[in-house]
């Protein structure tokens, strides 16, 4: 800690504190006192958090087979996985979201029975489309990462297990997958932060996460910068939380780098 607090750092920290204090006092924060906006902000932050968590989980569950298919599968399994990853990584996420929501939406009038089906309450709302689009995006990017991770596990271990007669699924479950995940953990933290930064895009399909909430506040009050500053602070805070979480996760699993 003493190392960190060199004289120039102390000056910079004081300057930063002064800047924050000036912002807090001279800019217009009156809208924060409004309970309606406070509720919207809390709801928006909650929505952002659950979108990131759910899409990362589903995306990783999909990414494992996609990475495995590319690392170990025969050509008729690895080629589709390859194509999927290339398309997802080669096109903008915004376009994927719009294609899913508005594209599928434009098909509904031509399928009359869909309004009577059980799926209809879900197809009406925006969040299923956001979850699907973001999960597919995670699966595409993490599929590539998992491919590298699976390929990076020392081949000798897999051969030894095979030589001992271990069935392929047990081999995957006990040796290949845990080590691949171990390798990928540092990258996953960065990828989760990337996912967090993609969440504002779902505000364009009517989901009121924190970016849309600040948009609403800006539009109601005509204040331009202060809500955006709050937004930046919120995202920096969430990024910090994610980084801390992954550091803790990495610390928990003992690694012996050979």
């Amino acid at each position: 800690m003493k190392d960190f607090l060199k004289p120039h750092r102390i000056v910079l920290i004081l300057l930063a504190a002064a800047l924050v204090a000036w912002c807090a006092l001279s800019l217009n924060w009156t809208w924060l006192a409004n309970p309606k906006y406070q509720l919207l902000i809390v709801q928006g932050i909650w929505r952002t958090i659950w979108i990131v968590v759910v899409t990362m989980v589903i995306g990783m569950v999909l990414a494992v087979p996609i990475g495995l298919a590319q690392a170990a599968g025969p050509w008729y399994v690895s080629a589709p996985a390859r194509v999927f990853c290339t398309v997802i990584r080669g096109t903008p996420l915004l376009m994927q979201i719009w294609l899913l929501y508005y594209g599928l939406g434009s098909l509904f009038p031509s399928i009359p029975w869909i309004k009577q089906s059980d799926l209809w309450p879900y197809l009406r709302q925006a969040w299923p489309y956001a979850v699907v689009a973001l999960s597919l995006s995670v699966a595409g990017y993490e599929g590539e990462v998992m491919r590298g991770a699976f390929k990076g596990v020392p081949h000798g271990q897999l051969e030894a297990a095979k030589a001992m007669g271990m069935p392929p699924f047990t081999l995957l479950r006990r040796i290949w997958l845990p080590q691949a995940l171990q390798r990928v953990l540092p990258t996953l933290g960065g990828e989760t932060v990337s996912q967090l930064k993609s969440t504002p895009l779902v505000s364009t399909i009517t989901i009121m996460e924190i970016y849309a909430v600040t948009g609403r506040i800006r539009q109601d009050t005509f204040i331009i910068y202060e809500p955006l500053l709050l937004l930046a602070v919120v995202y920096m805070g969430l990024t910090g939380l994610i980084v801390l979480l992954f550091r803790w996760l990495e610390g928990r699993r003992p690694t012996r780098t050979a």
């Binding site: 209809w120 009517t206 539009q219």
Partner: protein
């Protein structure tokens, strides 16, 4: 320091059009027929575009259409990205705190549009428990939040009016509230005829819905007098009526 910034500005200005000549007219970058919509070659056409051309000719200004995102159009004006807002923006007291408005150049009531087989009425009773769609940053959104949000099951907010119409056609919202003429244009199109119908006009509220549509300008801009004079001249010499006849069967000026 000054020279450095000036040099940077000069470098940036190399990529720009000549200073002070063309007037940048901000138009929402979305199809909003019959007032403004892009055609296949990327040109903007519609009643408002013809009106703008007549005004600019009358006031001897060189006008250039600059598409801008609707929900950022007022900040774009105040920060100098555009000089005039001409995008069917209603004149309201709330907006007047930030920008100036010219005299109104049209005034049409607001309407609710619903699915073809729906029985919804355009009031709070009819919209109880329904999903209502509106465009962000509009007087219609303010009206919906004030009257319908307390009783509706959800208010979905869209970036453009077009998206709201599409979701009504897809069945994701039960009703859409917007300007009656813009909605009528949608209802006259193939997609609109197939899916939807008008439920009727909403009860008026001049404070929320505004007193007609006008040009938006930065506060204190001297252009205001020129534009007002041009609007009056066009109304007087019949150009306004001529333009309106091409698109509508009635006078959109309103009272």
């Amino acid at each position: 320091m000054k020279t450095l910034v000036l040099a940077a500005v000069a470098a940036l200005a190399l990529g720009t059009t000549a200073m002070a000549d063309p007037l940048k007219i901000g138009v929402a970058a979305e199809p909003y027929p019959p007032f403004t919509s892009p055609d296949a070659s990327g040109n903007w056409v519609g009643w408002e575009v013809d009106f703008m051309n007549a005004i600019c000719k009358q006031a001897e200004l060189d006008c250039v259409i600059t598409p801008t995102a609707w929900d950022g159009i007022i900040p774009a004006l105040t920060s100098g990205q555009i000089d005039v807002i001409m995008s069917s923006m209603s004149i309201t007291q709330e907006r007047k705190k930030t920008i100036d408005f010219s005299d109104k150049y049209y005034n049409t009531p607001a309407m609710v549009m619903v699915a073809a087989d729906s029985t919804i009425t355009p009031d709070a009773a009819g919209l109880t428990g329904k999903i209502v769609g509106v465009q962000v940053s509009t007087t219609h959104e303010a009206y919906t939040q004030k009257y319908f949000a307390p009783v509706a099951s959800e208010v979905k907010v869209y970036q453009t009016q077009d998206e709201a119409n599409q979701d009504l056609a897809a069945g994701r919202v039960d009703a859409v509230m917007a300007d009656s003429i813009a909605l009528q244009a949608f209802l006259d199109s193939d997609a609109g005829k197939a899916c939807c119908k008008a439920a009727g006009m909403v009860a008026g509220d001049a404070e929320v819905l505004g007193a007609g549509v006008g040009f938006g300008l930065r506060q204190g801009d001297p252009l205001l007098a020129k534009l007002n004079a041009a609007i009056a001249a066009i109304r007087a010499d019949g150009t306004y009526a001529e333009i309106t006849k091409k698109y509508f069967a009635f006078d959109v000026y309103g009272e």
